[in-house]
């Protein structure tokens, strides 16, 4: 079975480490916050100027001056800090954020990512995505392995305009956990009940399959 959105978030959460500073993108990456293991201390960075993002507020504590990068009202945890956008992207570009999780339309075997623009369709802007992929060393991309017609989104070369060139090393799709190195996708894990054959058939870029491909653990 392909992973649900919640399962994708759960699998990403297994990559968290105690003491990490983490930036979570909009969509599935945001859900990772719900699966931080008990007892582990992780600080969430929101690029509009918040380190230490907490849960949603109540009707009583809601504050229009306290939002996240998705423009949702949030709270700040104990030990949080606020700062300007320039400071925020100094953290990001300077490589101070330990893990970045974001979505994508396409990735390719060179580690390039396309996530912000579909020509001929509406262009909303890249926001902070280009800075995040250029600045972070440890990035996990969460995405669908193929579109609804079965067309692969893991390509020999991205077809859409890029968000970043050669910057992605790990991709978690609804079917597989994949590493990108040496100009190829390397299959690390498969979703429970998903066959290697299905993953191979839905991966357009060069895919290296080891003899044994373990199922994901949650």
């Amino acid at each position: 079975m392909a992973l649900s959105r919640e399962q994708l978030a759960q699998r990403v959460a297994k990559e968290l480490k105690d003491g990490y500073y983490v930036n979570l993108g909009i969509g599935i990456p945001t859900l990772v916050a719900n699966y931080i293991p008990e007892g582990m201390q992780v600080m969430l960075q929101s690029e509009n100027g918040l380190l230490g993002m907490g849960e949603f507020p109540t009707e009583e504590t809601i504050d229009p001056d306290l939002i996240n990068a998705g423009k949702q009202t949030v709270t700040a945890v104990k030990g949080a800090s606020f700062f300007s956008s320039a400071e925020s992207f100094a953290m990001i570009r300077g490589g101070h954020v330990d893990l970045t999780v974001l979505g994508a339309f396409e990735v390719d075997v060179e580690g390039s990512i396309a996530s912000w623009m579909i020509p001929g369709k509406l262009v909303k802007g890249m926001g902070g995505a280009m800075d995040l992929v250029a600045g972070a060393d440890n990035i996990i991309v969460t995405m669908m392995h193929a579109d609804k017609y079965g067309n692969s989104k893991l390509l020999p070369k991205c077809e859409l305009p890029l968000t970043g060139f050669g910057c992605i090393k790990r991709v978690l799709t609804d079917l597989a956990f994949i590493e990108i190195k040496d100009g190829a996708f390397h299959l690390l894990e498969r979703a429970p009940g998903v066959s290697v054959e299905e993953i191979v058939s839905k991966t357009a870029g060069k895919l290296i399959v080891p003899e044994h491909v373990p199922e994901m653990q949650f």
Binding site: K71, F82, S84, S85, M126, G128, L162
Partner: protein
Amino acid sequence: MAGLYKVVDSYDQALAGLNDNMTIMVGGFGLCGIPEGLINHMVKLGTKGLTAISNNAGVDDFGLGLLLQNKQISTMIASYVGENATFERQMLSGELNVILTPQGTLAEKIRAGGAGIPAFFTATGYGTPVADGKETREIKGRHFVLEESLTADFALIRAWKADTMGNLVFRKTAANFNPMMATAGKITVVEVEEIVEPGELDPDHIHTPGIYVDRIIKGSFEKRIEQRTVKKA
């Protein structure tokens, strides 16, 4: 003599000298931390042909969206404009020239502009459409794009508190682009929630020193929330 007393009493005084075809910076992230009264007064003034530098473009009926509806902006420099249908229509019809800029690059362009740095190299955008037509360079094995800094005729920002000399304190995530923009305007106008006397703000806690600020006006704010999210009880 006004000396370093920078408080003005009216929005007309706050925006005196703002003319057609000028470049303005407008603080805020989404609708958070925007100078609401200054924007509303620009709508009243009807100043046209503006180049607006702001992370977002407001929503249709609030924030910079109001200037767009009134067709006062001819060029928009922003990182994300997804919440505004007027914007999309004007961009697709070619009425509005749009320069989409990565958020961190935009912040740094403004910071650099205010700090007298004409340009800088960043890895952001290398190999993407953002780098088209720009100088690139390999430094220590990595590729970088040369990005030019930004300044403006007017920086219109919002702060929480100001003393009458223009020392500023921002509040929570309403700071966002406001502190850098304060430094990058030829004339920086700040709309604040509260004005206090010099000495009332702890010098250790001032975010923006008064040297960057030219005019202060006390505003009243609706503080509209774009995505009202609350915890399930």
